[in-house]
């Protein structure tokens, strides 16, 4: 192994290569070792977070997590991840900052309007057959998705017989969701989304606004229960007719995705619906056979009868 760079150096130098100069190549070798070390540090850091604070990021997709952690590292001028780990273990406030870095809460009302159109067309008629409904928003972030669903349920006459559970692991996001107050700068887009999603009324019926913020109507909140739930570590808490978990699974690796699909399977009634993000798919997971497509492009699935795994 050790003399490989030298062999390459001679070869490439003889060929007058513009691609590699020997010196650069050797420097690159050293850099590679640094990257290996960094990966070890990253693993240790995630382990430390789990052991000390109980948040389990160990099975998240690595590239994004790494980017986020390095972002904090540069911002607070640490020389390496190990140095950061020390602070993490001894300063809760530092962990809280890092936790905020690691959670991506980007969301909007009626995100992907075509999804909501499909939901109204293909899922709502089925939901109308039930006398009582339970809906779970897993990874609801600051709640825009939950209020969007509440509006649809209201317009379809289903709201009063529905219990909505809105969960996230990020307590700050949940708090915002509970408040139901959003920045006015987003209003134009939300209104456009509502219309594209086939909204039946005027979007302004559902909020009051001042010059800074939009406050969602209280009546939308009546049947929503906001609570803390971590998909990586927590379990089933009820039998749902519909689970919505959009743009959360993309942050997980295959293993964790499998765990969460299994959790959703166990949390759904037979024929219950599962809605995931437009760039996510159940088709390569272990639970693939346990769900059938309802609207393929919009990633709306339905749980089949007997457990298959």
């Amino acid at each position: 192994m050790l003399n490989i760079p030298y062999i390459d150096e001679i070869l490439y130098a003889n060929l007058e290569s513009k691609i590699y100069l020997g010196r650069i190549f050797i420097r690159a070798k050293i850099k590679m070792d640094e990257l290996e070390t960094q990966n070890i540090e990253l693993q240790l850091l995630l382990q430390a977070i789990y052991l000390k604070y109980g948040y389990d990021f160990r099975n998240y997709a690595k590239a994004s997590i790494k980017r986020r952690i390095l972002h904090r590292l540069i911002k607070e001028k640490f020389s390496n991840i190990s140095a950061m780990q020390h602070k993490l273990l001894y300063e809760v406030s530092f962990f809280e900052r890092l936790l905020l870095d690691m959670s991506i809460n980007v969301t909007e009302m009626f995100r992907d309007p075509s999804f909501y159109l499909a939901l109204k067309k293909k899922v709502v008629p089925e939901l109308k057959k039930y006398p009582f409904l339970k809906i779970w928003h897993a990874g609801c972030s600051t709640g825009e998705e939950v209020y969007s669903m509440a509006i649809i349920l209201k317009e379809e006459g289903l709201y009063d017989r529905t219990q909505i559970y809105a969960t996230d692991m990020n307590e700050l996001a949940l708090k915002k969701a509970k408040n139901g107050i959003f920045d006015i700068s987003r209003l134009k887009q939300y209104t456009a989304n509502y219309q594209k999603a086939g909204g039946l009324e005027s979007f302004s019926d559902y909020y009051v606004a001042d010059d800074k913020q939009v406050i969602m109507d209280k009546s939308l909140k009546k049947n929503i229960l906001f609570s803390d739930h971590n998909l990586a570590t927590d379990g089933v808490f009820g039998e749902m007719n519909l689970i919505m978990c959009r743009n959360v699974l993309i942050y997980f690796n295959r293993e964790l995705q499998n765990r969460v699909f299994k959790l959703f399977f166990d949390s759904l009634c037979t024929d219950g619906f599962l809605c995931i993000g437009s760039k996510e798919s159940i088709r390569f997971s272990e639970s693939s056979d346990a769900f059938e497509d309802v609207v393929k492009n919009e990633k709306i699935y339905r749980r089949l009868g007997a457990a298959t795994n």
């Binding site: 690159a28 850099k31 590239a63 994004s64 980017r67 991506i104 993309i250 942050y251």
Partner: protein, 194 residues
């Protein structure tokens, strides 16, 4: 020997990409991964158009998809495209970086972790400076960087920024990038067989 190519393009990118990819044969030996800045709601039309215009197979990158040689992958609009070390894709919807999502810098930076010094980065036309950090990191790692000659770019800010950011390997007119890639890869292959 190189193992992957990453390309960043913005304003005027469609024409530039067509030119580069159009010069490559269907049995091109490396995967090519592209971030082209697009309108967030533009769907998958870019992949479709490029697919009809070049011999290589072009598709939108899927979450967790394994990266395969000879296929051109395009980032979906409104998501960042990241390369994992096991050479699969991840997507994220985190905030735009330098106003861009997908971001060229994010793709390049994560591709470096997966491909180390076996990566070729290419910056094409664009009216911002996305990608300049990415090419700097590729050079630091010992990879190879090609930039479209600003005079041949519909918008020259992005190539200019890349050239200013680091010592790039080649600055080429758009119509020479494809042929140059073929030559570069054949050279490095011959060297590996030597």
């Amino acid at each position: 020997m190189f193992e992957a190519i990453v390309i960043g393009a913005s304003a005027g990118g469609l024409k530039a990409l067509t030119s580069v990819l159009g010069a490559l044969p269907s049995e091109f030996p490396l995967p090519i991964i592209i971030v082209q800045h697009l309108h967030p709601h533009s769907d998958s039309y870019l992949a479709h158009i490029l697919d009809t215009k070049c011999q290589l197979k072009v598709k939108q990158a899927d979450e967790k998809e394994s990266i395969v040689a000879g296929i051109v992958y395009v980032a979906p609009p409104n998501y960042h495209l990241l390369v994992e070390e096991d050479r699969t894709f991840s997507l994220t919807c985190e905030e735009p970086v330098k106003f861009a999502r997908p971001s060229v810098d994010v793709l390049f930076e994560t591709a470096i972790y997966a491909y180390r010094n076996k990566l070729i980065g290419i910056i094409l036309t664009g009216a911002n400076n996305d990608g300049s950090q990415g090419v700097t990191k590729i050079k630091k790692m010992g990879g190879y960087v090609i930039v479209q000659a600003p005079t041949t770019a519909e918008a020259d800010a992005m190539p200019q920024a890349a050239i200013a950011a680091t010592q790039v390997d080649e600055i080429l007119p758009i119509n020479q990038i494809g042929p140059y890639l073929l030559q570069l890869i054949n050279q490095s292959k011959n060297r590996a067989n030597f």
